[in-house]
Symmetry: C2
Subunit: 514 residues, 2 copies
């Protein structure tokens, strides 16, 4: 009697998981070498079309994309064109963000291929068309943390994720850079893509660089990947990454940056082991330079820097002034190179970064965040989504996440931009609630949220030019006057959600016959 | 009008996820520094008791543990004692493996705290008692890959995972070593724990070393962790890790190792870019040494080494003979140190390692695996779970996973152990089906599975001592005779599953009145 051929399964009521007998046909054994298997038995499919069909994509489903390729991205347009050719319609496109290069989506919306959009932001002609009423159903805008939250909780169910990757082995270990060869493009962290890969029902990796197994370390593990498609090109390196992010020469920005660094110094949060996130605006980046001097002078070192990472942060890290980098998105080549080579520069997912469902998420450990704004109002509400003409031209990103998480959130912005005042009575679109915004720094002075009286007194004691937000507003209006109110129709074109998924504002169609 | 106070949510039928309005009480803002938060607002609870209660553990639930602390583990006994004190009963204990040190579980089984066990293996007195009929419901044995598979598919639902970690920050980023200080113990990879953390409903980290945020790089991300308990000690370093694993001096084992290396060389799979996993037995480890010489001589380098990792593998890696290490479990301090310091030594989860639900899992990319055996039968079935007396004294580990995955699986074993023949007519317990076992190497010759005729001819051409499995069996029996059949009762004490979850064998209660 061979034990393998048990004729009867012992029926054991309490063990619900034991339901079937071993059948020797289950023991499948491959005699090929691993190199032969790589070539012959892998997840690589012949074409994007085949991947779409194998993924089981059907009318009405939800697909996702990441924006790590920024304005160099070829993936979204490529995939949408192929989906349109196949004839699949009524899709929800859930992208981590959309940019100027995604203008061709306009046609897919018109043709009914895309029925709904969820995203952190939209720019360019696509944004303009949407603001003018292109879509029947409003776009849902979510912060990076808010997006992670709805994905994790299953409120946003992704059927198929199409994720571009600068390197991938034949079984799906994917990363934002290539270690073994110089082929392909580089985007650094795959932080937003990581979460999509984990939660999507089917995951398709699109790459121009298939490397040998194992592509370790990896950003996305092969266990999250179903199909791989090799294509000629996934993106334009110049659009994906501008070399190193440059320091600004703009005197207004330099003044704002210098003031912001002084605010940090005087805030009471500039202590050994502090943590920081800097945005990518000119003033925000320049703040790093002024802060560096203060860190060296006072011998105060940061425990970690968070967020979208730039070469400026990497410089401080390599100098030993910052001990860890938590990188959800690498903004320039220096950041990507550091992620590749520095052991303490860690790739993190959007959930780890900012999900409000996660009490330990990294934004909650932030002392200081420097953010930008299109508009701030006298209640400290911030708009980073619509321009002074009411048209969509930005992205929530991690704005509301970091403002809520950080002990002090500092908005750096010029008092005026061209003929437009930045500080207004009411922002056109509330993205980040004033309750979570602590300080506004302009080239003509600082305003502190009345909720932070102690903080305000500290800044005054330090001799910083503190005014009320109304005073700053008046100064700006004196220069450029009050803007005409924007004319809207009744149609809602965008729903702005707070990080917990609730509706914090709506965006209406702009009147174009004006 | 403040946009934030939208009185009406625009009801949009097609957007099911949009259901509530922003309420400014949702924007919670903390003004503490990150260091103050670490101290005051974190996931650390005051006691193990509090963690158990907060986890919501109730009668009849399933709890899980890892075995990275091997025979130095304090965690399982500590947690079970506390659960018993609280009075929770009827639990299913799903451990990745159980060892001698877990003998105190006997009392918890007798007292009804533990009702069922799922594990890869059991050793020592607990195993003996179970073999003698201690439990009402049979233990379910699963391979590491099989365990990952049932966890991923939801067949094994873990309610609370209690995971020991040598370092953890106050928000739950946990790892198997400590980077910032020399406190605490070291276990290297947390590969089995990673999956439990990902899938368990609640996760409790038990540590003796709370380090500052962010504990990066991490094995388990904080987003997977609910509670953290700091205790005096989580394990005995001597039991967790024997310094470096030593090379055997046993001439029989050296002869087996030398033959195994020659088998690899002649197999046709010893080619540039090959991949390999070595078990921890003396012969298996010594194979590394002989293989090294052949690699240097022929200038053949391995693409990766997989599995439980030892200092022997690390040596080859640091010499440049192996390009990547994929580490699900670090067996000695050299392996743990390498994981800490070598960028291409990657920590992987049990799913990545071996889940049969995952076509790209690493075992499927293996060319060669060297495994051990308690018994092999003439059908090449292997037993690594029960001794010659029928008593449980082993673990499936990754045995059936790697045998199925690797292009050639090589069993190294002595022809006899004491008065017991290793090669028998029928193994007491089928763990790994013969169909997936290719070669048996003993000190007195080699047998090749008849399914691998080409392979057999290659070995013969290379002048290796190839016999039929029956010839080897006869040789062994000539030395020590045929063993008396074991006497069992009808009671089933263990169910052995194949990696896909099907029942491949059962273990019956041994008769003790004999």
């Amino acid at each position: 009697m061979n034990n393998i051929n048990l004729k009867e399964i012992p029926y054991i009521d309490e063990i619900g998981t034991i339901t079937e007998n071993y059948d020797s046909s289950r023991a499948i054994k491959e005699y090929k070498t691993c190199i032969e298997r790589e070539q012959q038995e892998n997840k690589v499919v012949a074409s994007l079309r085949e991947a779409i069909i194998k993924s089981g994509l059907k009318n009405g489903m939800t697909i996702s994309f990441h924006h790590h390729f920024r304005n160099g991205d070829y993936v979204i347009n490529m995939v949408m064109d192929e989906i349109a050719k196949i004839g699949i319609k009524d899709l929800t496109l859930a992208a981590s963000s959309l940019i100027d290069i995604h203008k061709p989506l306009i046609e897919h919306i018109k043709n009914g291929v895309i029925r709904r959009i969820e995203t952190s932001g939209i720019r360019g002609e696509l944004a303009e068309e949407i603001s003018k009423g292109l879509m029947d159903i409003p776009v849902v805008f979510r912060s990076h943390g808010g997006r992670a939250y709805v994905i994790e909780t299953g409120k946003l169910k992704i059927d198929v994720a199409f994720l571009g990757a600068p390197s991938c082995d034949p079984f799906g270990n994917a990363n934002g850079y290539s270690r073994g060869n110089d082929k392909g493009v580089t985007c650094g962290s795959l932080g937003y893509a990581k979460l999509d890969a984990q939660y999507a029902n089917k995951v398709v990796i699109i790459t121009d660089n298939i490397v040998s197994f194992p592509n370790a370390p990896f950003g996305i593990p092969e266990s999250d990947v179903d199909y791989i498609v090799e294509v000629e090109a996934i993106g334009d390196p110049n659009g994906i990454m501008s070399g190193a992010t440059r320091y600004t020469q703009n005197p207004k920005e330099l003044l704002i940056a210098k003031t912001a660094a002084s605010v940090i110094e005087a805030s009471g949060y500039f202590k050994e082991g502090f943590s920081i996130q800097l945005g990518t605006g000119g003033a925000s980046l320049a703040t790093a330079r002024f802060l560096r001097e203060k860190m060296l002078q006072k011998e105060i070192y940061a425990s970690f820097a968070l967020g979208g990472i730039t070469g400026q942060i990497v410089e401080l890290f390599e100098e030993g002034l910052i001990k860890r980098i938590l990188d959800v998105q690498s903004f320039d080549l220096d950041a990507a190179k550091s992620l590749k080579n520095n052991r303490f520069h860690q790739q993190i997912s959007s959930s780890y970064y900012a999900s409000p469902g996660n009490e330990g998420s990294a934004v909650n450990q932030l002392d200081i965040v420097i953010l930008s704004a299109l508009e701030v109002d006298v209640d400290f509400n911030v708009n980073v989504l619509t321009g002074s003409d009411g048209v969509i031209r930005g992205a929530i990103g991690g704005h509301s996440d970091t403002a809520a998480g950080a002990s002090i959130s500092i908005i750096t912005c010029p008092l005026t931009r061209g003929r437009i005042a930045t500080i207004v009575d009411h922002v056109n679109t509330v993205v980040t609630p004033g309750k979570t915004v602590d300080i506004v720094v302009t080239e003509q002075g600082i305003a502190v949220n009345p909720l932070r009286e102690t903080l305000k007194q500290s800044l005054i004691r330090a001799g910083l030019p503190v005014y009320s937000i109304h005073e700053l507003k008046d100064r700006g209006e004196k220069i450029v006057g009050k803007a005409e109110p924007i004319e809207y129709t009744d149609k809602i074109v965008g729903i702005v959600t707070y990080r917990d998924g609730s509706v914090i504002d709506v965006i209406r169609q702009v009147k174009t016959d004006k």
